[in-house]
């Protein structure tokens, strides 16, 4: 086989790989949209489930997910952004800075179920919060923290140092320089990271499974110490613990709602990031 043909063959193969991947996405999304769209209705989104998930809606799971994600962001975003500021802006060639860098890299690699075990043993039992929204929120915050830190750190480090130097040379303090020059221009990048973290938190099941989510409750969570329902866990429970022929509508409906939520967030993160790259061509 001559060289030209060899190239053609391999490139065809690689194109095939890319298309297989694209196809996988299309099939999965396609099934969920087609099979789930029939179930979506105002009722489905705003009512409590009835008659063993054959009637009514998934309102408590939607609300639970929103509460959960809100709490996770309140915990993870300030800590993550400020840690990223410290790592990027302050002298860190000392032991503390290096340790911090190693730690952040490793936090990202810890499986989410291990965080779940931590949440269970430490927060639910040892600290005594019990199975609760708070325990789950903190556990998810652990999962999401490395994402926020990494995205924020990259956004902050992308601001050219010439701007920092210009500000310092005018006689402003380090914190003033960060507040007025570094943070505003890294905000879009930070926002992208935050949105991706929200998307991740909304879809995670293992950490909350062990720390506070329940299958069915007839009330919404009253406070942070209460148990709650959430869409990912609902999908898991419905598909593994209820008969398919009875609850399939709910299953596909839930999958679709979850899909829409996650894809919407991911797409907006991508759009923000692209527009930001256009705007700040240093």
């Amino acid at each position: 086989m001559n060289r030209r043909n060899k190239e053609r063959a391999f490139f065809l193969l690689f194109r095939g790989c890319a298309w297989v991947v694209a196809l996988a996405l299309m099939i999965i999304v396609g099934y969920i949209v087609v099979l789930g769209i029939g179930t979506i209705s105002w009722e489905f989104l705003t009512q409590f489930p009835k008659k063993g998930f054959t009637e009514g809606g998934i309102f408590p799971a939607i609300v639970g997910t929103l509460y959960l994600v809100g709490l996770v962001m309140i915990i993870a975003v300030p800590i993550g952004v400020f840690t990223a500021i410290y790592v990027s802006e302050y002298k860190s060639n000392n032991w503390f800075g290096n340790l911090l860098r190693v730690v952040v890299n490793n936090l990202a690699g810890v499986p989410s179920i291990v965080y779940g075990l931590l949440g269970l043993g430490l927060l639910v039992f040892f600290v005594g919060w019990g199975f609760s929204l708070l325990a789950s929120a903190f556990t998810l915050a652990f999962v999401v923290l490395p994402l926020v830190i990494t995205a924020s750190r990259e956004a902050i480090q992308a601001v050219p140092s010439s701007l920092r130097e210009a500000s310092l040379a005018l006689g402003t303090t380090k914190w003033q320089t960060i507040r007025h020059h570094v943070l505003p221009y890294s905000l879009p990048g930070i926002l992208t990271g935050v949105i991706l973290s929200i998307s991740r938190a909304a879809g995670e099941t293992a950490p909350i499974l062990m720390t506070g989510v329940v299958f069915l409750k007839f009330t919404l969570p009253q406070n942070v110490w209460d148990t709650f329902q959430a869409m990912p866990y609902l999908l898991y429970s419905l598909s593994t613990q209820t008969p398919y022929d009875k609850t399939q509508d709910f299953q596909w409906g839930t999958a679709l709602v979850l899909l829409v939520m996650v894809v919407a967030m991911n797409m907006s993160a991508i759009i923000i990031r692209n527009r930001y790259r256009e705007k700040y061509k240093w």
Partner: protein, 306 residues
């Protein structure tokens, strides 16, 4: 309002010091979390170290903690399941991911690239429970009936199903990291190769990919780490029978799956409970090692291009 200049200067200095201190305190949180994971896993495994014979734990071939007569805690079936599922998913995801990466970064028309790259990112964002759900409802049924007159998987829910969907989760990681690695190869190398009359394929395969190898290796390590640590896909797709088997088309119960399924059934403070923590410790050690390997590969990668 007028304030004394010396006061302003002093206030400003105190402000800066306070903020510096505050940032240090906040950054401690990240360190505390990782430390808490390691320490807690270890502490909660101690009772297991004591009440379960560790030799049997690591070499035992039966995992049957709920047996009323003789509870058995051998993790070999769990490790084998993890191994089989990870190996299969890597077998699928690595070539697929690499091929897709080469296509996207070297061959694809910019307009196609514009659509495909976000598509890969959307794929990356799909929750694992959703993929598990699809595997359980559609894919398992497909595999069970599609080859019917000739062959059928040994079990409806099996390790292969899990591997396929783990691969779907791994591909975006492979693609984004390998792409970064390949884009960082200096243009000058590419141009030198083409100027010597090599075809694009030869340039890619013999110049660019080898030059990007540390980054690609890091991508592989991280993807495998993801596969080892992923829970929902395997829980839903591979079945829940902790049997020792090398047949990819039979049910299996990898480490993550075991923890997730059994944790809701254990009694707090029972031996079983602590044994699950010990499983968590093993899992943590495995992913930590893979992470370290990826990091080492990345360091070799940045060294090359200084």
């Amino acid at each position: 309002m007028a304030t004394k200049k010396s006061v302003v200067a002093k206030r400003r200095r105190i402000n800066d010091v306070l903020i510096h201190a505050l940032l240090i305190v906040i950054s401690l949180f990240a360190i505390l979390v990782l430390a808490a994971v390691a320490i807690f896993l270890f502490l909660n495994s101690l009772p297991a170290f004591v009440s379960i014979d560790q030799w049997d734990f690591f070499t035992g071939t039966v995992w049957d903690p709920t047996n009323p007569v003789e509870p058995l805690y051998g993790i070999v079936p769990l490790l084998v399941a993890t191994l089989v599922v990870t190996f299969l998913s890597a077998l699928i995801a690595i070539p697929l991911g690499l091929g897709a990466t080469i296509y996207l970064s070297e061959i694809a028309h910019p307009r196609i690239k514009k659509v495909m790259k976000p598509a890969v990112e959307v794929l990356a964002g799909l929750p694992s429970v959703m993929l598990g759900f699809f595997a359980l409802t559609i894919f398992a049924r497909f595999m069970w009936t599609a080859f019917l007159p000739w062959w059928q998987p040994s079990d409806y829910l099996n390790l292969f199903n899990g591997a396929v969907f783990l691969a779907i989760m791994m591909v975006p990681i492979m693609v984004s990291l390998s792409e970064d690695a390949m884009n960082s190869v200096p243009m000058s190398l590419k141009e030198a190769s083409l100027a010597l009359g090599m075809t694009r394929w030869e340039t890619v395969w013999k110049v660019i990919v080898p030059a990007a190898r540390p980054g690609i290796v890091a991508a592989m390590m991280l993807s495998i780490g993801r596969a080892v640590g992923e829970t929902m896909v395997v829980v839903m797709a591979t079945g829940s029978a902790p049997q020792l088997t090398w047949d990819p088309f039979s049910s299996g119960q990898p480490l993550t799956s075991t923890i997730a399924i059994e944790i809701s059934e254990v009694a707090f403070n029972s031996t079983h409970y602590y044994a699950l923590f010990e499983l968590g410790l093993v899992l943590f050690a495995m992913t930590f090692a893979l992470n370290y390997a990826a990091d080492w590969a990345m360091r070799k990668y940045t060294e090359r291009y200084q």
